[in-house]
């Protein structure tokens, strides 16, 4: 069953009224041309399953929150936000589930680069050194590893503890994510 984004909450509410009172999972698939958010719901008594698909593009990847209809959606939506970079509008700003992604592309998108170096901005030289040394001699790799650490006043995550960084980021509002992940 396919819904448009703007009628998603209403549609799910109707389905809930028809008996689909149990949310199984919310996830998404990156089909290469766009993202598809999937909502798996179930009617426990009648033993029926239903899958609701919502297609969204990469550029304005957001869905409205369905927590009012299914309270179980909370963590699933957070996971979807984190893994796919799909913003969820209308919900309380919350921490990412898996802490401290630093400027990383949403992992489960197909655009996620497997062997790239994901570092905070200040460690670019380390990243470049490592990239240059793909099959380098041990001493060269060692040099890359022993590059001087960034200064403590870096806006990255090392200065404050993880919770501080997470809270600040979360307070900036988790619902305005579009495209890439939140740059912290």
């Amino acid at each position: 069953m396919r819904f448009e984004r703007k009628v998603l909450v209403q549609g799910l509410g109707e389905l809930k009224g028809q008996g689909y009172g149990y949310l199984v999972k919310i996830t998404a698939v990156d089909y290469g041309k766009g993202l598809t958010a999937l909502y798996f719901i179930r009617d426990l008594a009648g033993n029926r399953d239903e899958t609701v698909e919502v297609e969204i593009g990469y550029d304005d990847a957001w869905v409205p929150t369905v927590m009012d209809v299914y309270p179980a959606a909370d963590w699933y939506e957070r996971e979807m936000m984190e893994m796919f970079g799909i913003g969820v509008h209308g919900r309380v700003a919350s921490r990412l589930l898996l802490e401290k992604w630093d400027g990383v592309d949403p992992p489960l998108r197909k655009s996620f680069q497997w062997n790239a170096e994901y570092r905070t901005a200040d460690n670019k030289d380390v990243a470049a050194a490592r990239k240059a040394n793909t099959v380098g001699a041990p001493s060269e790799r060692q040099a890359g590893r022993n590059a001087p650490l960034p200064a403590a006043s870096a806006p990255g995550a090392t200065a404050r503890g993880p919770r501080a960084a997470g809270k600040k980021g979360a307070a900036r509002g988790a619902d305005d994510k579009s495209g890439g992940g939140d740059k912290r």
Binding site: G21, Y22, L23, V24, K25, T27, V29, D30, L38, F40, L44, N47, D49, T51, Y70, P71, A72, A73, D74, W75, Y76, E79, M83, R95, L97, L98, E99, P107, L108, F112, W114
Partner: protein, 363 residues
């Protein structure tokens, strides 16, 4: 005034690496915020780069207490994608192994629950002794005590050894008495009952709304067990009946699992006695095999911890996307709700009764 304390990620509880930030008002828990992700390995992304049968080891590590069940769930999804039917005997063999795995998992639950409540590992040790016997049986059947990787497309890796039936049946006779002993030992202990009855009550509506799975759902009165609702293998033929409790407190969740163990014993016995002849071996399609026929498949299995739904978008040789819905994730999400306005000591009892495995939660 809320005092925030930090529990974990390293703590003596056996559930895994979990960090709880608990907001206390005196002795009452006002809010619980679980921080997870310590065990995140990116399994869903990893399997996208592996061929189908290269992934079962990843799947098994998702639940180190009952690895076979994840293995089987994934291979079932692969079979659905490839359009392969499991042979009759193989279905019985898989059922026996799954139910043995369930017994082992629930024994672990029992030990971890009593541990969380402050017992000095006694029930844990006894439970593990029995779990060791189950693992020895599984070692006879699969060659491994843990992380079996025993499932192949269409069947299993090895036939059951000729004397498996006898050793299994003798274990079952012994174990039935043991379940009775565990139950009487724990349920006649007033201290134990005090901490279980009436603690962490989850009503049926709340359970449905929170989306919890497995024994937690069934203990709140909702009769939904994948083995009964969408029977697979020989569950229907062996007259599987799901176990439900009504109260939804810790004790109900514990009792559901104890009764499920009894049901497993009955199922294994019935399966052993009525197993059809034939070959249980599956195709050794390790890396290269028949191309996937169905594009999207969705397979539900009843793990010891709850229902696992594998939603797979299948490419010819590897999954394009595998979405694993694991029960511990959503059970943990229910913890902040369950633990509100409870005492701190009850938080641990509740967590023990939810039977969480962090590897499952983090994937």
């Amino acid at each position: 005034m809320i005092t925030r304390i930090n529990i974990g990620p390293v703590h003596p509880s056996t559930h895994g690496v979990l960090r709880l930030v608990v907001g206390l008002d005196g002795d009452t828990v006002k809010e619980v915020e679980p921080h997870i992700g310590f065990l995140h390995r990116g399994v869903e992304k990893l399997v996208e780069t592996r061929m189908y049968m290269q992934s079962p080891p990843y799947m098994e590590k998702l639940d180190y207490i009952a690895p076979l069940s994840y293995d089987e769930a994934y291979v079932a999804a692969v079979e659905a994608a490839l359009g392969v039917e499991v042979g009759e005997r193989a279905a019985y063999v898989r059922l026996i192994q799954l139910e043995l795995q369930r017994i082992a998992s629930h024994l672990f639950f029992l030990g971890a629950l009593c541990n969380d409540m402050g017992q000095m590992f006694t029930t844990f040790m006894w439970g593990f002794e029995d779990r060791d016997r189950v693992l020895a049986l599984l070692e006879e059947a699969t060659g491994q005590r843990m992380f079996y990787v025993n499932m192949r497309v269409g069947g299993v890796t090895m036939e059951l050894p000729p004397d498996f039936s006898e050793s299994c049946l003798s274990f079952l006779t012994y174990f039935e008495k043991r379940i009775g002993q565990y139950e009487s030992y724990l349920e006649k202990n007033p201290v134990f009952m005090e901490r279980m009855k009436g603690v962490g009550v989850l009503s049926a509506d709340e359970a449905r709304a929170l989306g919890v799975a497995g024994p937690v759902l069934r203990a709140s009165g909702i009769d939904y067990d994948v083995r009964a609702a969408r029977p697979y293998y020989a569950y229907k033929k062996l007259n599987f009946s799901s176990v439900t409790a009504l109260k939804g407190d810790n004790f109900a969740r514990y009792k559901v699992r104890m009764l499920e163990m009894r049901e497993s014993v009955r199922l294994i016995r019935a399966a052993l006695l009525s197993m059809p002849e034939g070959s249980a071996l599956g195709a050794t399609t390790k890396l290269i095999g028949p191309a996937a026929k169905n594009r999207t498949v969705s397979v539900s299995r009843e793990l010891p911890r709850g229902e696992c739904m594998m939603y797979m978008v299948a490419d010819p040789q590897r999954p394009y996307r595998l979405s694993i819905r694991d029960p511990s994730f959503i059970n943990l999400a229910a913890l902040p709700y369950l633990a509100r306005e409870q005492r701190l000591a009850d938080l641990f009892a509740i967590m023990g009764s939810l039977d969480l495995v962090m590897a499952c939660v983090d994937r």
